[in-house]
Amino acid sequence: MSGQHCEPSGRSTTDTRGLDRFALVGNPNSGKSTLFNSLSGLRAKTGNYPGVTVAKYEGRARLADDFVVLEDLPGTYSLDAISPDEHVVVDVLEANGEISATPDGVIVVVDATTLRRSLTLLAQVLQRGLPTCVALTFTDDLQRRGGRIDIHALTNALGVSVVAVTPGDRGQVTNLKQTLARWRDWPAPVIAPPTDAAETAAWASSVLAAANYVEPDSDARTSRIDAVLLHPVWGTAVFFAVMFAFFQTIFVVAAPIQGWIEGIFAWLGEAAAQLISIDWLASFVGEALIGGVGGVLVFLPQIALLFILIALLEGSGYLARAAFLMDRVMAKAGLEGRAFVALLSSVACAIPGIMATRSLPSARDRLATMMAAPLVTCSARLPVYILLIGLLVGPDERYGPVNLRGLILFAMYVIGAVAAMSAAAVASKISRAGGRLLPFYMEIPPYQVPRARSVVAAVWSAVGAFVKKVSSIILTTTIILWLLLNFPQHTDAEMQAHGVDTSSEVAVSSYALDNSFAASIGKAVEPVFEPLGFDWRINIGLVSSLAAREVFVATLGQVAAAENPEEPALALSQMKVLDGPNEGEPLFSPATIAALLMFFAFALQCMSTVGVLRRETGSWRWPAIAFGYMFALAWVAAFIANRVVGAFG
């Protein structure tokens, strides 16, 4: 997910030049993004504002006879910007903003149930002098909770158009679209609202009084649910149950779908091997192309499920509660509750985790969380762990009543979590010296039934971005790797001169591997990895896994010249140490496997993550620091594991 070009280019249907532009501004939780989805459907495209780390959402809406462009700006409570997100909103509304074209009109999305607070933001927008209209959301909730508002009087008091709109209500959405079409005739307030905080509050009071506004009672349904979900005992219990269900769903529900995808690609690979008669081409198509793409797409069900679950938790309002419950724990690491969400997402993949840090208002917290996120055990580590643990212990070995494989896997997750929290604590302590502490505040929105359209939109853009960005990186790596493993090519005469039995396929491929470019690289880095018990064959796997961890599994399969590429573990367990004092002993001894597990737990072997870190921090400095400190950690941990297990094993 690196780079800014995620929109399909060259398609005239997405060309937005020359169209009228509207920016959506509103408080977080004001229904702004729901309204955006409802106006623009799934035609939205995501990108980045140039030079900053904030995501840009742009979509087109069809009015009566023409399209207009809608820009969904980050949610904000104020135009006195503190966070990077808020600075973007200010810049877009500026007449000569640097990062985006000034919109023709602004739609301020105002939640009718929190009208007083929303009016302070509206006042600040009106001071910018752009054509403005108000989309009033949640009027149904206001009524249900015993509140009241006279929209006609509100229009008069504000001096701008006010349209009540419930995103699901087609009539109201059409009404808003008709208002948008008339933007050139929008009324403007006679006098702009005051800028001073106290005067703004007085202005808001007078508007509320003029509109006969009656504040809603607290949401009875929300209070009843929170009495349980935020209860000191029950709330904590439910929280852990939700987290348990979250992981169970991601791993258990995704497993059979992942099995199908693996099956399809295995079948495709075999078909390619049979159909293509040229050996090297068959190997290229089967191993590099199909194997590379398949290796990525296998994670698609998990990524999709993760985003569905997060969208559901967020849309229902539970995510804010989870952040509230976890805030004190996160504070121990110098972070705040919302960082928990980012670290939780990192269990699937550090990339969405790093992107989730955008919700953190403090730049210091963002950085600390980004430095920690790649240490959380992500789904790309999973196939590596499963392979290595499978080599280490048998399927039925138990420690008491507990399956030993499961126990080790659980321990790896614990190691990841502890490492991430410690790294965050250190990073936040180091950067605290420089930065000013930002206030922590978090709105606890009323519970809602998540909207299907918002969930679909979230999953759609995440899955699309994952497939496009990550597959390009992994595909490139597998192709390069295949080239390195299979070249230079050798003639029969050359091999016979070196005493190779050219009639034996195994002998030929083993000679080709020993003399490949990859082997030279593996041998060149041997001094670095030898103390960890790794030989050059493992090193090839490590070098290739710097692109993406899961490549390690495929590489070792290739390296082992596996007769059974479906089950690399079987071939691997028979690999022996080729030289040195331990010659003839199994290469994958418990000490080596323990060292490998530790290395994968800590090292930043993921170019996509490095790319996202570069994009989100705006420089190569932070990805370089992350890569360096994680490599050092990985090496030291692997060394210790190798020595400790070697001494006992």
Partner: protein, 72 residues
């Protein structure tokens, strides 16, 4: 203040950074506004308050700068 208490904001501490003070005011913590303590997190902090018809969680690190007068 303990859970269930209501109070009126009297002033924001003048030592507060101007941007932070402005943000708290924009969130509704302006003099004269009523706040109610709704619930505490299991470990005591943060605390959820009800203000201007909505609920917001604040840490004690921020609330110590908001001076209030308890309503009986």
């Amino acid at each position: 203040m303990s859970v269930g208490d209501c109070a009126i904001v009297t002033e924001l501490d003048p030592t507060l950074h101007p941007l932070v003070a402005r943000r708290l005011a924009d969130l509704g913590f302006a003099p004269g506004t009523q706040i109610e303590v709704l619930r505490r997190a299991p470990l005591g902090d943060p605390v959820i308050y009800r203000i201007c018809g909505y609920e917001i969680a604040l840490r004690s690190a921020q609330t110590k700068f908001i001076n209030v007068e308890l309503k009986s």
